[in-house]
Symmetry: C2
Subunit: 255 residues, 2 copies
């Protein structure tokens, strides 16, 4: 660390104009210099998608003391890659993705563009955190999620994170949480996932919807904490190798 | 298991017309009834992206004894969800995604639509396998990757996989591999990721490119096996919780 103020990169998947990212930037401003580099519109459900067959662009939208805002035509992961490769003059001390309009607990971490961006920061060895509020409305009240996101951001700036680990913070829709619990990712999946309707030509089309069905019931499940009025914080790994099963497979006769 | 032949769902991210998926379907045909349900064009780099704001459609392209082929307007994960929720009359005994034109070793598992589809099958408790050949050309020779993919598919049909674990098979571009090694996901990241050029209006645009820089050097790294002429097989987990760091974080005073 030099004497410079910390550099904090902020992105999201709801787009640069969303309330959640703007409230996040405002509440982190006194912790460091903020660069917002976010998609130019909604990229929900983009996971870690990258744009490999089309070019992407970015543009400066606003610059004032301690805050610079860019928008980009790409996915959340494209935003992180472009900011780190081409735009920032040094590596950030922290990446925060969010605050997402809607929860990213349990298996949602797999589909979420918010969490895809946090994972990408982690791949670049930038301590990275995703923050989501369990309220999808455009005018959601982000004050409690800002308070908690800022607190975790301060701790990550102070202590860092292990290489290859990033954080997933989810905050229930409550004026004040009961506390913050360190959790595991609840096991489960979405069911009854499609609503069938018709397009103008009378052909069947399918809209993604569905409800979450949990398969685990552990005291440290993130969903349980959220149901009980706590914020949940799940540390996540980039390395998805299943080392236990790997050891068992080594006895296989493959070919 | 009933007396029915196994049902095998095949998908990919290169699209239903790609050589890799058609060779895969052909080489698995005698193992069971095959349903191909794949994107209508390339969806490379789509990771586990889902289509949440637009409707998706599918159509039957071909049906013959033991082989039914559909194409879908969605992402690879949309394909798996739609097939399992709306199209198949029972859960498949196996999902195979691929054979991808290009490798998905190391961190590529994070960005790959091929592996996103395999993960999605796993979330649905379908034993799932992604297969990739380290050759991006449209007319690549898939014979060795078919031989190995078929062999692993047979083992998975016979023995199943643990809940929450799916397989990532990569095959080097060789007429015959030296063998198959069970591996871990090599640590590393892409660097020098963008090629800058100009659009028609003279504005700078950025094309994703880059080269992979490894950060680990372990004897069981998948990249090492591939470099040495072996196919690599990495068992991957849906649960990304970092349990070690979770235990350390439980002492934190968050709020």
């Amino acid at each position: 660390m030099t004497n410079e103020r910390p550099l904090i990169l902020i992105t999201n998947d709801d787009g640069v104009a969303a309330k959640g990212i703007n409230e996040l930037a405002a509440c982190l401003r006194d912790l460091g210099d903020i660069v917002v580099f976010a998609p130019d519109g909604s990229r929900s459900g983009m996971s870690s998608a990258i744009t490999s067959t089309l070019p992407i662009k970015y543009s400066l939208r606003r610059k004032e003391e301690g805050l610079t805002v860019y928008s980009c035509t790409g996915t959340p992961v494209d935003c992180v890659k472009l900011a780190l490769n081409e735009v920032l003059d040094r590596m950030p001390d922290l990446l925060v993705s969010g605050i997402n309009h809607g929860g990213n607990m349990a298996i949602c971490v797999n589909y979420s563009g918010t969490m895809g961006a946090a994972a990408e920061g982690c791949i670049f060895r930038v301590p990275s955190l995703g923050v989501s509020l369990l309220d999808q409305s455009a005018d959601a009240d982000f004050s409690e999620s800002c308070r908690l996101g800022r607190r975790v951001a301060e701790l990550v700036l102070r202590d860092g994170l292990p290489d290859g680990t990033y954080l997933n913070l989810n905050v229930p829709k409550l004026p004040r949480v009961k506390g913050l619990k360190v959790c595991r990712q609840t096991d489960g999946r979405w069911t009854r996932e499609f609503k069938r309707s018709e397009n103008a030509a009378g052909e069947p089309v399918f809209w993604l919807t569905g409800s979450f069905e949990r398969s685990s019931d552990e005291p440290d499940d993130d969903l349980l904490a959220l149901d009980n009025g706590y914020a949940s914080l799940v540390p996540c790994k980039i390395d998805v190798t299943d080392y236990d099963f790997k050891a068992r497979m080594e006895g296989y006769e493959f070919i």
